[in-house]
């Protein structure tokens, strides 16, 4: 099979940060070859200076996260035939939202710092006197979702919030937090939820863009894990927080304008008196404008605004009776 690869190159010893070079390679590959097979062939036969990480070749070690045609993937489980027509060019870049060390190799230090931030280890009050913890098998199978995470960083690469807000704990680390919140053997559930609810960059900062669910090669579905933790946090009585205010502001905005007022939402969620957070938000606002993503300051009204308001009033009156 004939394939063309366009590979992003960066050498910190000869190039300034932010610069890159594109190298193109044309090669003949086995019909079921993966993108990783192609990159290894380049490294072994054409250009020994190409830097990339890989180990298992079997989608289990989490080393080989890269962007293929703009989307984060494990290149060892991405078959060439599945991402490009015969002869079409495949574009390979390092993952996003991670600093680049060289070529396709990124720094995962911030990634693992975030993981560390959620106290990622079991914290039981006491161990059983004898044998294992006796718990229901369903509760363990439930945890498999998040235990499947191989820390590849693909979700972080494509997370739209991390792109503008470095403080966000992010999908992978939050999925890891969920794994302990949901573990019946752990006795810090409430403390963990309280922390995730209040901390800067916690569970309320996700915009539900779905990207992490889409790109995760292991079906961890981090966004779903985050949403579950929001419910759990509220249920556990965490009300007077940005999260709860956010939900409130959300419904106020929809009721009044028939749509979401994102700028107000952010400010109200932080609380009008939370100066440091407001300064942060201003910064995000500026970055968003630069990236063309700032929501309008004065929200447009949805066309059938009145209808929405009426729906709201009806739901509220029904709830009150």
């Amino acid at each position: 099979m004939n394939s063309k690869l366009k590979v992003s190159r960066f050498d910190p010893e000869t190039m300034g940060s932010g610069q890159r070079r594109w190298d193109e390679f044309e090669m003949d590959l086995h019909p079921s070859a993966t993108v990783l097979d192609a990159l290894i062939q380049i490294r072994e036969e054409v250009d020994g200076t190409l830097a990339l990480r890989c180990a298992c070749r079997a989608s289990i070690c989490g080393s080989c996260g890269m962007r293929v045609n703009g989307e984060a993937k494990l290149v060892c489980k991405t078959r060439i035939a599945d991402v490009a027509e015969e002869g079409a060019t495949i574009v390979i870049e390092p993952m996003g939202n991670h600093g680049i060390i060289k070529d396709l190799v990124v720094s995962l230090d911030p990634f693992f710092d975030k993981v560390r931030q959620v106290d990622p280890y079991l914290q039981p009050d006491a161990e059983p006197e004898q044998g294992e913890f006796v718990v229901n098998n369903d509760s363990m199978e439930n945890l498999l979702t998040a235990m499947n995470c191989i820390m590849c960083g693909a979700c972080v690469s494509d997370c739209t919030v991390l792109e503008v807000d470095e403080a966000f704990i992010g999908p992978a680390a939050l999925a890891k937090a969920w794994r302990f919140v949901e573990d019946p053997r752990d006795d810090q559930r409430d403390e963990r939820l309280k922390e995730l609810n209040e901390v800067e960059g916690g569970i309320w900062d996700c915009t539900r863009c779905f990207k992490c669910v889409e790109v995760c090669p292991k079906d961890v579905a981090p966004m779903d894990r985050i949403m579950e933790m929001r419910d759990m946090a509220i249920e556990a009585g965490n009300r007077n927080t940005s999260g709860y205010r956010h939900t409130e502001s959300f419904s106020k905005s929809v009721k009044k304008h028939g749509r979401l007022d994102e700028a107000r939402l952010a400010v109200e969620s932080a609380g009008y008196t939370n100066i440091p957070r407001l300064i942060d938000l201003a910064e995000i606002g500026v970055k968003s404008v630069l990236k063309g993503k700032m929501p309008p300051i004065v929200p447009h009204k949805a066309d059938e605004n009145e209808k929405i308001t009426r729906i709201f009033e009806r739901v509220e009156s029904e709830r009150n009776t």
């Binding site: 050498d11 910190p12 010893e13 086995h30 079921s32 993966t34 490294r43 072994e44 036969e45 250009d47 020994g48 200076t49 830097a51 990339l52 990480r53 890989c54 180990a55 298992c56 070749r57 079997a58 989608s59 289990i60 070690c61 989490g62 080393s63 489980k77 078959r79 060390i101 060289k102 070529d103 190799v105 995962l108 693992f112 993981v115 560390r116 990622p120 280890y121 079991l122 039981p124 161990e127 059983p128 004898q130 044998g131 294992e132 913890f133 006796v134 718990v135 229901n136 098998n137 363990m140 199978e141 945890l143 498999l144 235990m147 499947n148 191989i150 820390m151 573990d183 053997r185």
Partner: protein, 560 residues
């Protein structure tokens, strides 16, 4: 200057288990690994970990006997007794650290069956057991604030006055060399599957630890014992776990027959691995294969069961072959998987070099002998990883740190500079691929004098070409070209030890099956082979032998 009580080379299961133990003992511990800990190859283990849990009626002596029989009586029985009797506590401890092992109805740990055993005593997490345990050990490492030299590559051991007192290592991200001093070093650098092609092993399994210890004077024991796993994918060598057969999958030949009923009437598909691989190869050689494969059939298990209990296998089959296991059987063949041989240690992980311990796949205690049972390797890593840390903690009480001199560092710097300065000539990849293919040809499921001689010649050829390997990449940052060249040197040493050990053993036992001498010979060969690094000898190797420790299980003929 970097300095610790205990320095552990490797952050797989063996290394991290040792590290957790040494940290709990209050020592200053560091781990050094050429990849981030969770990338270590232990994450690839799929099927499970064996443990006879005596509190629910299993008997550790039963597991010991299965292990010894599996080893074709080459395992040292004192070591097996320790592994089997400590297994229960080791697995319970992993559970308490947070591993989400599968459970039964009663909420207690559940099991599946594995090869070479009639009792179901393999504990598991779906088909991601290794990954699930490795991530939990890494969590424990974070909890204890373990020091990790991450993406640092060990190039040399520092030996002073006959003692191992540290390492010289390359920080891959910056390209700088450093010495790290330690009162004791635990080698937990994993296997060497890349000496062969194809192999189930990761690209990082290049036998570095074996070669480093060997160069320091420790013998490699029973290196001819290379395990071929019965169910690997043809082109890539990627593994489909024995858990498939443990859960009831069949092996079929081109005529649709379950041929294992013929070769192993009692254990069927779950005979020990050497037996199943030989049976498959016989079917293939006699014309009942399909393009050099046999078929692994899971269809009768049903989609729901496959997806629940063997989800990762389904992922591999779908992603790499486009085969849905619930609909179609998958072609598999024997492939290189594990190296039973390794750095000779005693039951506390100690080697003949004071201060140097070894544990995990790079070590040979010996509990696997001539053939390892599936799910016994993870057990080996945690039991002997822990024991080597405990013993090392005792050892350091009576020793002081090394000199701290720059002499070793400077020697390595000079050596690497001369590598970098070579004129363009050979390329490491061409040499590696040649060697690995020749090794698979010569040291196969079946071997004979001629094939092994062929592999020996190939290694000689490799050793001649090696000084000509030039490094294309002249940079410092993330120079994998340099790393692979250094790994190539390690692999050539391992290959050399394998072919000379194989040529020495004049019998068939376990994984070492010679078509020119087909019988086991207990009278002359109930012995370990010990390959020493010896520059004065031909090919730089000297092979000696040593007796096998028998405690209470006299060798008998092996029938499955």
């Amino acid at each position: 200057m970097y300095k610790h009580d205990v320095l552990i080379i490797g952050a797989g299961l063996a290394g991290l288990r040792a590290a957790v133990e040494a940290t709990r003992l209050g020592l200053d511990v560091a781990v050094i690994s050429k990849v981030h800990p969770v990338r270590s190859h232990s994450n690839a283990a799929q099927g499970g970990i064996n443990a006879p849990l005596t509190d629910r009626g299993d008997d550790w002596e039963g597991h010991a006997l299965d292990t010894i029989k599996g080893s074709d009586y080459l395992a040292d029985q004192d070591a097996v007794e320790i592994m089997s009797s400590e297994a229960g506590d080791a697995v319970i401890e992993l559970e308490r650290m947070g591993v989400i092992f599968s459970r039964g109805e009663d909420g207690r740990l559940g099991t599946r069956r594995f090869g070479g055993q009639l009792v179901a005593r393999t504990f598991f997490v779906g088909a991601i057991t290794g990954s699930a345990i490795l991530h939990v050990l890494y969590e424990q490492a974070l909890k204890h604030g373990l020091n990790v030299y991450e993406e640092w590559f060990v190039t040399d051991l520092i030996i002073e006055d006959g003692r191992c007192v540290g390492v010289v290592a390359l920080d891959i991200k910056t390209g700088t060399l450093h010495s790290i001093w330690a009162k004791t070093v635990i080698m937990a650098a994993g296997g060497a599957g890349r000496v062969f092609e194809p192999s189930t092993n990761a690209i990082i399994c290049t036998g570095d630890g074996l070669a480093l210890a060997w160069r320091a004077g420790v013998p490699m024991m029973d290196m001819e014992m290379v395990q071929y796993h019965p169910t690997t994918l043809a082109r890539t060598g990627i593994l489909l776990s024995e858990a498939a057969r443990g859960e009831g999958a069949y092996l079929l030949n081109s005529e649709g027959d379950r041929f294992m009923l013929k070769y192993a009437p009692q254990y069927e598909e779950l005979a020990s691995r050497d037996v199943v691989s030989r049976s498959e190869q016989t079917e293939i050689n006699e014309g009942r294969g399909i393009d050099g494969n046999v078929l692994l059939d899971l269809r009768h298990l049903g989609r729901e069961f496959i997806e629940d209990r063997l989800g990762y296998l389904q992922e591999v089959a779908v992603e790499f072959l486009g085969i849905d296991l619930a609909e179609q059987p998958v072609p598999v063949r024997p492939g290189v998987h594990y190296i039973m041989g390794g750095i000779k240690t005693d039951v506390d992980g100690a080697t003949v070099v004071p201060g140097l311990y070894a544990a995990g796949e790079c070590a040979n205690v010996s509990v696997h002998g001539a053939n390892r049972l599936g799910a016994n390797s993870l057990l080996d890593t945690v039991v002997f990883g822990r024991r080597s840390a405990v013993h090392a903690a005792e050892y350091i009480k009576s020793v002081d740190a090394g000199s701290g001199s720059d002499e070793h560092l400077n020697a390595t710097k000079a050596r690497i500079q001369s590598l970098m300065d070579r004129e363009p000539n050979e390329n490491w990849a061409a040499v590696r691929n040649y060697m690995a293919n020749e090794m698979t040809k010569g040291i196969g499921v079946f071997r004979d004098q001629a094939s092994m001689e062929g592999a020996k010649e190939a290694i000689r050829n490799v050793n001649e070409r090696m000084p000509k390997i030039a490094i294309q990449n002249k940079g410092k940052v993330f120079n994998t070209d340099l790393i692979f060249t250094l790994e190539m040197e390690f692999m050539a040493d391992v290959g050399n030890a394998i072919v000379h050990s194989a040529l020495t053993r004049k019998e068939s036992r376990g994984a070492h099956f010679r078509t020119d001498i087909t019988e086991r010979d207990d009278e002359n060969w109930l012995k370990h082979t010990l390959a020493y690094h010896d520059p004065d000898n031909e090919d730089g190797v000297r092979v000696e032998t040593s007796p096998v420790t028998i405690t209470k299980w006299e060798p008998v003929k092996r029938v499955y």
